[in-house]
Every structure is written in structure tokens, then in C-alpha cells.
């Protein structure tokens, strides 16, 4: 009888949400990077003295050589599209309307590419190897979105 009852159950959906606030300390390295964008519209990377690579985003220590010392190096503002995708379907993580072009952009003088968006161009015209430059937001807050997107150079 009990089995019968359980077999006829229509399962409920229990709706909930985890709402935990986060306060990510950017740390002094990322802070310096973000402040340079906010205050001067400049892009900076860090150079490892051992392997000579220039990293963007900047690193406090070289992830490959594991040395603790790095020095700052101005990069960009121009850069090259390494790869990209055009998000055609609206996905929950995307804050704006689609299509949105996500891209890895290697700034001039950097050895690594940074993730950002490409705008100001028909998404179908974007290609790898394309030259781009940052378009900064009018009001800047020390945030990665102070770069609105990269646009054709």
C-alpha cells in the first residue's frame, strides 16, 4: 500500500537560490592594473625577469618560473585577435543582448592574451588576426568593464 502511494507521487520542485555576497580583494597587483585603466586609460602587464614573458592580466609572481620578482611594462593599447566566438544564443551569464563577441586579444608587447569583448563591428566581420584597440567607458570605476570592449583599429 505504501509502495503504491509512493509510486503515484508527483514530485515537487523546491525552488531556491544561493545568495552569498562576495567581496573579492583585487590585491595590489590587479589594483594597479585596474587603476591605470581607470585613471589614465593605460594598459600594463608584468614581465618576469627570468623568462622575459610579459603577462596580461598581470601576475604578482611568474606562474612558470615561479620567481617572486616581476616588473611592470606598458602594453597596447592596440592588439590582435587570437581567437573569438560570436555568442548567438542568449545565455544566463551574458549581461547584454546577443550577439556578443568574446575574444582573446594579445595586446602589443604582451606574450599572453586577455579575455574581453569585441564591439563596434558587424560580428560576421570579426576575424582572427584582426587589429583592435580598447574603447574605454565614459565613467570608469576600477573594473575590467572600464574597457567597454575592443573595437577595430
Amino acid at each position: 500500500m505504501i509502495d503504491q502511494d509512493l509510486n503515484n507521487v508527483e514530485p515537487l520542485v523546491y525552488e531556491s537560490k544561493i545568495g552569498v555576497p562576495y567581496y573579492w580583494w583585487a590585491g595590489d597587483t590587479a589594483t594597479r592594473f585596474l587603476e591605470a585603466i581607470r585613471d589614465k586609460g593605460e594598459l600594463w602587464g608584468t614581465r618576469c625577469p627570468e623568462c622575459g614573458k610579459v603577462f596580461v592580466p598581470p601576475r604578482k609572481s611568474c606562474p612558470r618560473c615561479f620567481g617572486q620578482q616581476t616588473s611592470w611594462e606598458k602594453v597596447g593599447p592596440g592588439g590582435t585577435v587570437v581567437t573569438y566566438t560570436v555568442a548567438r544564443k542568449k545565455r544566463e551569464a551574458i549581461p547584454e543582448d546577443v550577439p556578443v563577441v568574446f575574444a582573446l586579444i594579445r595586446l602589443d608587447g604582451a606574450d599572453t592574451a586577455m579575455l574581453h569583448k569585441i564591439g563596434g563591428v558587424d560580428p560576421d566581420k570579426v576575424s582572427t588576426g584582426m587589429r583592435v584597440k580598447p574603447r574605454f567607458a565614459e565613467e570608469r570605476k576600477g573594473h575590467i568593464r572600464d574597457i567597454e570592449c575592443f573595437i577595430p583599429d
Binding site: 507521487v9 514530485p11 520542485v13 531556491s16 544561493i18 562576495y22 573579492w24 583585487a26 590587479a30 585596474l34 603577462f55 596580461v56 592580466p57 606562474p63 612558470r64 587570437v82 581567437t83 573569438y84 566566438t85 560570436v86 555568442a87 548567438r88 544564443k89 545565455r91 544566463e92 551569464a93 551574458i94 549581461p95 547584454e96 556578443v100 568574446f102 575574444a103 582573446l104 586579444i105 594579445r106 599572453t112 592574451a113 586577455m114 579575455l115 574581453h116 569583448k117 582572427t128 573594473h143 575590467i144 568593464r145
Partner: protein, 379 residues
């Protein structure tokens, strides 16, 4: 070194939305099936490993949900976070250390209960990347583009992976998406993020898988023929996608080389009879096969077109349908290992004749940052 075998496997059906089963119900079913598979009693299991993920489960300490379903109360236990292949690795070390004769490893996830785009957006760096809105699909789409441009692979090549794997799933009663589709069907499916169509992407899935690992003395007393764990290794590439050459998979190559060396395999192309690789997206099957040394770089597409990766081909790949036919994240790698076990026992739904050695691969992170490679053998 002591020999360790997989002695029991148990899987739930993979479904889009298991409305009647919670995590613990799925894990209980998988555990029960694995115990029955080898004729073990839960009392005889030496220790327990959970593979789970707090984000996917919407729960801090996600292993806490399933302890009762694993019979954990009287046992030593731990939890790995990430793909089940890593959980199986830790389970194996706990036998090789001499601490326990056997390990129960379970993995579970219910993609239906969360929003995969938001969960995978949280893999991206909170300061430099996350607010841009990128997630697993868009991140991997950038890799697919890089791979296409480096190798000349086309959307048709990727589509052929999807066609093959969904077809393999038609004989797998546990698969979520058994489908007889054409290359054109894949190309006609909705474009999600260039160059990935909907049918290039694995679905959101619910499922749990359990493996029981045991030392040689224990394995030889149990019901089924042991499948020996001959080699394993794992390796992580850099974190930021822009630090990597996305068209290549050096961390997979390194893990594979170490796993093959441990297993005494010098020519993987010749020695491996069947492969189960982490095809979360169609293009990944090609990339990972090359990273595993099972095809030359950029040539996997040609082998695929020639039918080499079909069940009847020279190197059958994802014989149960792969993750494109059902992708319960975290449990996924365990499902791939379970299919390899069934192949090596000779009891698979799409049996590869004379299969003696299998390779299995699992992935953590975006676009194959960290890989775990296993070599399994019936001998």
C-alpha cells in the same frame, strides 16, 4: 607495485531531468548496482570517495548529501572535487598506500537543478573575466575556432563526431540522447556560439555512477573478471585562456605520456583497442584523440571521416555514445571508465571484438585545462 582493478560498476540512466531522485537516491542506485555487479556487501568496502562539486550541487560540502547512500558511517571517507576520473585516481592511491583493500568511488550531478551558464561562468576569474559574461560554452567555442584555424578542421568534421556518438548511444539503454542524425542535422541545429551548433554541445544531464576498486587479492575473489588499472596520470595547463595555445593540449599530452609509460605502452596507436574521451563538445573528441597520441595533430578528422573511430573501425571511440549523448558533469569521467570496463569484460552494448586495452580521459576546467588519463586492461 600492487595491482589495482575495477571490480564493480553501477550507473543510473542519464536523463535530462530526474524528477523523482535526489542526489542520494541516484548515488544509492549506482552504489547498489556496483555492489551487485561484483557480489560485494557494503560492509566489505574498505573506504569511500565522493566526486562532487559544490557549485553544481548548490550546496557547500556537497559530499554530505550522499554519505548515507554510500554506507559511509563506519568507514574512512574523502571527497575530490572535479571530474570522477580524478576521484578514481585518489581511490586508487588509497589502495596502493596499503591502507584499504578496496574503495567505492561515486560521482553524481544534476544539471537540471542549476543553471549551467552561471555555474561555469564562476570558473572564470572574478576580477579580470567573470563580469564579461563568458561561460563554458563560449570559452570552448573560442578553442574550437582556434583548433579549426590551426588544423583546417571544418564544421562538417565536428558534426561527424556528433553523428557517430549519438548513433552509438542508440544501443545504450542508459543514454539520454540516442539519435540517428545526419551531418546536415547538426549544421542546421541552432548556432549557440560560433562555431558550435546545438548538436555540437553535450546536453545538461542528471546521473550518478559508482565504481568499486580493489587490490589483487580482493579482486580475484569477486564475481566479475577484474579490469586492471595499468596507468594513470593527470596534468594542468595554465589557467587564463590567453596564457595557453588553445589549439593544442600540452597538459593532455604530458598526462598521456606518463600514463602510457606507467602502463608499459610504447605505441598507443597500436596498443589501445578502444578509447573513451571527454567529448563535452564535438570538436574536443578530435583534439583529445590527438593529445592522447591516437592520431597525428590535425589528422583525427580524416580518421573519423574514414570510419576509423566507429564501433567497427580500427580505434572505436566513445562506444556508449560519449558525453554528447549524456553529460552528468563530475560523474561523466566515471561513466567513461565504466564503459571501458564493460568493453574489456566483453559485456558492452556496442562490443568491440577482442578489446583488451582501453584509454579513458577526464577533464577539469575550461577548454581542457586539466586532464586525467587512464589506461585499463583486461590482462
Amino acid at each position: 607495485m600492487e595491482k589495482v582493478a575495477i571490480v564493480g560498476v553501477g550507473m543510473t540512466k542519464i536523463e535530462a531531468n530526474k524528477v523523482s531522485e535526489r542526489f542520494e537516491d541516484m548515488v544509492f542506485e549506482a552504489t547498489r548496482k556496483a555492489l551487485d555487479d561484483c557480489g560485494m556487501d557494503i560492509k566489505d568496502v574498505g573506504n569511500v570517495i565522493t566526486a562532487s562539486n559544490d557549485f553544481w550541487d548548490g550546496r557547500t560540502i556537497s559530499c554530505m548529501a550522499v554519505g548515507d547512500a554510500q554506507g559511509v558511517r563506519e568507514k574512512n571517507a574523502s571527497c575530490t572535487e572535479g571530474d570522477g576520473t580524478f576521484g578514481a585516481f585518489y581511490g586508487m592511491t588509497r589502495i596502493l598506500s596499503g591502507a584499504y583493500p578496496s574503495t567505492l568511488v561515486t560521482g553524481h550531478s544534476k544539471g537540471s537543478e542549476s543553471v549551467s551558464s552561471l555555474i561555469t561562468n564562476a570558473v572564470f576569474d572574478p576580477i579580470y573575466e567573470r563580469s564579461l559574461g563568458v561561460d563554458m560554452v563560449t570559452g570552448c567555442a573560442m578553442q574550437a575556432r582556434a583548433y579549426m584555424e590551426a588544423t583546417g578542421a571544418t564544421a562538417e568534421d565536428f558534426a561527424r563526431v556528433s553523428v557517430k556518438n549519438h548513433k552509438n548511444a542508440m544501443n545504450n539503454p542508459l543514454a539520454q540522447l540516442p539519435m540517428d542524425i545526419s551531418v546536415q542535422d547538426v549544421l542546421d541545429s541552432e548556432m549557440i556560439a560560433d562555431p558550435l551548433h546545438k548538436l555540437d554541445c553535450s546536453p545538461v544531464s542528471d546521473g550518478a555512477c559508482a565504481l568499486i576498486l580493489a587490490d589483487e587479492a580482493t579482486a580475484k575473489k569477486l564475481a566479475k573478471k577484474p579490469v586492471w588499472l595499468k596507468g594513470v596520470s593527470f596534468c594542468s595547463d595554465a589557467y587564463f585562456l590567453g596564457d595557453r595555445d588553445l589549439a593544442k593540449s600540452p597538459s593532455l599530452e604530458k598526462a598521456a605520456q606518463k600514463a602510457y609509460a606507467m602502463a608499459g605502452i610504447s605505441d598507443p596507436g597500436k596498443d589501445i583497442d578502444v578509447a573513451q574521451v571527454y567529448d563535452a563538445f564535438s570538436y574536443q573528441e578530435l583534439m583529445w584523440l590527438e593529445g592522447l597520441g591516437l592520431a597525428d595533430y590535425g589528422k583525427a578528422k580524416d580518421h573519423l571521416a574514414a570510419g576509423d573511430f566507429d564501433v567497427s573501425g580500427a580505434l572505436p571511440v566513445n562506444t556508449a555514445g560519449g558525453l554528447l549523448s549524456g553529460h552528468p558533469v563530475i560523474a561523466a569521467g566515471l561513466y567513461l571508465m565504466a564503459e571501458a570496463v564493460r568493453q574489456l569484460r566483453g559485456e558492452a552494448d556496442n562490443q568491440v571484438e577482442g578489446a583488451r586495452t582501453a584509454v579513458v580521459q577526464g577533464v577539469n576546467g575550461v577548454a581542457g585545462q586539466s586532464h586525467c588519463v587512464w589506461v585499463l586492461s583486461s590482462e
